[in-house]
C-alpha cells in the first residue's frame, strides 16, 4: 500500500506482454541449450564405458578409474558449472530484455554535451 507521497512504481516495470513473451522465449532457449549440454555430458559417461576400455580399466590417482573419478567428482563440478552458467546468462538476458534501458544504455540526463 503506497502512502500519499509515494511516487509509485517506476514505469519501466511495466513491460508489454510481447516483451515478456520474447524474454520468456529467449530464456527458454538458454535453458534448452544448457539442458542439451547437460544431457550430452551425462550420456557420454556410459557411452565412453562401451567405447573405450581405458575409461573403466585405466587407473588415475589413488587407483581410481577415469569413470569413477568422473562420477565421484567430475559430474558434480560439471553440474555446478552448468547451473552457474545458466543462472548467470538467464539473469543477464532478463536484465537486457525487460525493464528500462539497462546496464548498456548511455548514462546521464539532460542534453548532450555536444
Amino acid at each position: 500500500m503506497h502512502d500519499r507521497h509515494d511516487p509509485g512504481p517506476p514505469a519501466e516495470e511495466h513491460d508489454t506482454p510481447a516483451e515478456v513473451d520474447a524474454a520468456f522465449r529467449t530464456l527458454r532457449r538458454v535453458a534448452l541449450g544448457h539442458v542439451a549440454v547437460f544431457t550430452g555430458v551425462l550420456a557420454a559417461v556410459p557411452l565412453l564405458t562401451g567405447a573405450l576400455a581405458w575409461w573403466s580399466q585405466g587407473r588415475l590417482f589413488g587407483g581410481m578409474s577415469p569413470m569413477f573419478a568422473m562420477t565421484a567428482f567430475g559430474l558434480y563440478a560439471f553440474f555446478f558449472t552448468v547451473c552457474l552458467a545458466a543462472a548467470t546468462l538467464s539473469n543477464a538476458v532478463e536484465e537486457r530484455m525487460l525493464g528500462g534501458p539497462g546496464r548498456d544504455a548511455p548514462r546521464g540526463d539532460g542534453p548532450p554535451a555536444a
Binding site: A11, R29, D104
Partner: protein, 429 residues
C-alpha cells in the same frame, strides 16, 4: 540460414555415417571403437575449424600482397616504391606523420636533409642541421614562394635559406609543394650540404607520392564526415508526424487513463533520449532492442490491436555490436507501410540471431502486411528514389556500405498482400 551452422551439422552427421560405414561395415575386421571415435573426433574438429575459412573463400590477392608491403615498411630507405607503399601521411599532414615520413625519406636522398612543413611551420626535420632546425620553427622564407605559386622552388645559395645559425651546413634546397587535391597544404623540402641541388624530378616525384597520400587522407576524412552526416540525417529524420501523433494519443488518454499516460510519456522520453544520446556508429543489440521496444509500444498505444509484434531474440545476440538506428527504421517501415495500410493490421516479427561459426549477426524484420508492389520493390532494389519517397532504406544501405564495405547483406523480399521480409546480415562485432 543458408551458410550457417545447419549445413555444418548436416555435413558432420554425414561424416559420422560414412565413418561408421567404412570402419564398421566395410572394413574386415572392423576397427576398434576407440580408434573410430578418435578418427571421427579428429575429422569433426578439422571440419569445424576449417568451415569458417571455407565460407570466407580464398584470401584476396590484395590481402596476400599486404604482408610483404608491411615487411618493407621496416626497411626504411630501400626503395622509393617502399616509401610509396608505406602510408605515414594517410592520417593527414600531422606532426607525427610528417616526422615518420621525413625519417623514411632522408636515407633515400644520399644524406641530404629533409623537412616537411605545413603552410607556416616546420612539422618535421631529419638529417644534417637537425640540431637547430626543429619542428615548430617558422618555415624557411622561400617556402612562401612554393606555397603561393604551387610550384617547385630551387634555392642555390645558403644565404637565401634565412637560417640564423652560422654553423648551419645546409647550402641548397629544393622545395616542392604538397597538395591534398586542389589546395596547397605544405611543402617537402630537400636540403644539401655540398652545394649541388637534389634532382628536381626526384623531389617532385616524392612530393607527388606524398600529395597522393594526403589526398587519400582527405578523401577518408570526407567519407567519415559523410557517414556521420547520414547518421545525423537519420536522427533528424524522426518523423515529426510520429511525434504529433504520439502526443495526440497521449493527450487523448490523459483524462481516462493517467497511469498509461505517464508510462507513455516516460517511453516517449526514453525514445528521444536514446536518439539524442547515442554516440558513435555502433551500439549493443540490447540497446537497440530497447529502442525498438520503446518505439513499438508508442505505436501500439496509437494503433492498439492492429499492430502486434513478436520478438525472437537469440541470447548471444544481445551483446553483439550492431550499427545504431538500423533496426528501428526497419520496424517503422514495417508498421508504417505494411500494417497501417491493412484494416485488420498485422504482426511485425523481429528475429535476431548470431552465428558464431561464420561470425555474423542476422536480423530479420518481417511483417504480414500489405507488401510492396513489384515495381516499387524493383525501384528500391535499384536504389532509385522519387520525390516523396522516404530515405530510410537508402540511408540504411548507404550507412551499412560505409561501415562494412561489401561485408554485409541487406535483402528485401515482398509480395503484395503477402507481407515483406527484410534480412540484414552484418559481421559480428
Amino acid at each position: 540460414m543458408s551458410n550457417g551452422s545447419l549445413p555444418l551439422a548436416g555435413v558432420i552427421a554425414l561424416l559420422w555415417g560414412a565413418m561408421y560405414l567404412v570402419t564398421q561395415v566395410l572394413a574386415a575386421p572392423p576397427l576398434g571403437t576407440g580408434t573410430t571415435v578418435l578418427i571421427g573426433a579428429g575429422l569433426t574438429t578439422a571440419l569445424v575449424v576449417g568451415y569458417p575459412s571455407a565460407l570466407r573463400g580464398p584470401r584476396s590477392k590484395g590481402r596476400t600482397r599486404s604482408a610483404p608491403a608491411r615487411l618493407q615498411q621496416g626497411r626504411h630507405g630501400t626503395t622509393i616504391a617502399a616509401v610509396g607503399r608505406s602510408m605515414p601521411l594517410r592520417s593527414g599532414l600531422t606532426a607525427d606523420g610528417a616526422r615518420r615520413t621525413a625519417q623514411l625519406l632522408q636515407p633515400l636522398l644520399s644524406g641530404a636533409a629533409v623537412a616537411i612543413t605545413d603552410r607556416e611551420r616546420v612539422l618535421a626535420f631529419a638529417g644534417p642541421g637537425a640540431g637547430h632546425h626543429r619542428s615548430g620553427d617558422a618555415a624557411a622564407p622561400p617556402t612562401a614562394g612554393a606555397l603561393s605559386r604551387g610550384k617547385t622552388v630551387l634555392v642555390r645559395r645558403g644565404g637565401e635559406l634565412g637560417c640564423p645559425a652560422p654553423e648551419c651546413p645546409l647550402r641548397t634546397a629544393v622545395i616542392a609543394p604538397l597538395t591534398d587535391g586542389k589546395r596547397t597544404v605544405g611543402t617537402l623540402q630537400v636540403f644539401r650540404c655540398d652545394g649541388a641541388l637534389t634532382p628536381r624530378g626526384v623531389v617532385e616525384g616524392l612530393a607527388g607520392i606524398l600529395s597522393l597520400h594526403l589526398e587519400l587522407a582527405e578523401l577518408n576524412r570526407r567519407q567519415r564526415l559523410a557517414v556521420d552526416a547520414k547518421l545525423d540525417a537519420l536522427r533528424a529524420q524522426i518523423n515529426p508526424h510520429f511525434l504529433f501523433n504520439t502526443l495526440n494519443t497521449i493527450a487523448s488518454k490523459a483524462h481516462t487513463d493517467p497511469e498509461e499516460t505517464r508510462q507513455l510519456l516516460v517511453r516517449l522520453s526514453d525514445f528521444f533520449r536514446y536518439v539524442v544520446r547515442q554516440e558513435g556508429h555502433f551500439a549493443k543489440f540490447g540497446q537497440e532492442y530497447f529502442f525498438v521496444r520503446t518505439y513499438v509500444s508508442l505505436e501500439q498505444a496509437r494503433y492498439g490491436e492492429r499492430v502486434r509484434v513478436r520478438y525472437d531474440i537469440d541470447p548471444q545476440v544481445l551483446t553483439a555490436r550492431v550499427p545504431v538506428l538500423i533496426i528501428q527504421p526497419l520496424v517503422e517501415n514495417a508498421i508504417k507501410h505494411g500494417l497501417t495500410d491493412k484494416v485488420e493490421g498485422g504482426t511485425v516479427t523481429l528475429k535476431a540471431r548470431v552465428d558464431p561459426l561464420t561470425r555474423t549477426t542476422s536480423i530479420r524484420v518481417a511483417d504480414d502486411g500489405a507488401g510492396i508492389p513489384a515495381d516499387v520493390l524493383e525501384r528500391i532494389s535499384n536504389g532509385e528514389r522519387r520525390p516523396g519517397d522516404g530515405q530510410g532504406l537508402s540511408n540504411i544501405a548507404g550507412r551499412l556500405a560505409s561501415l562494412y564495405g561489401e561485408r554485409y547483406r541487406l535483402d528485401i523480399r515482398s509480395s503484395e498482400d503477402g507481407g515483406t521480409v527484410v534480412d540484414l546480415q552484418t559481421p559480428l562485432g
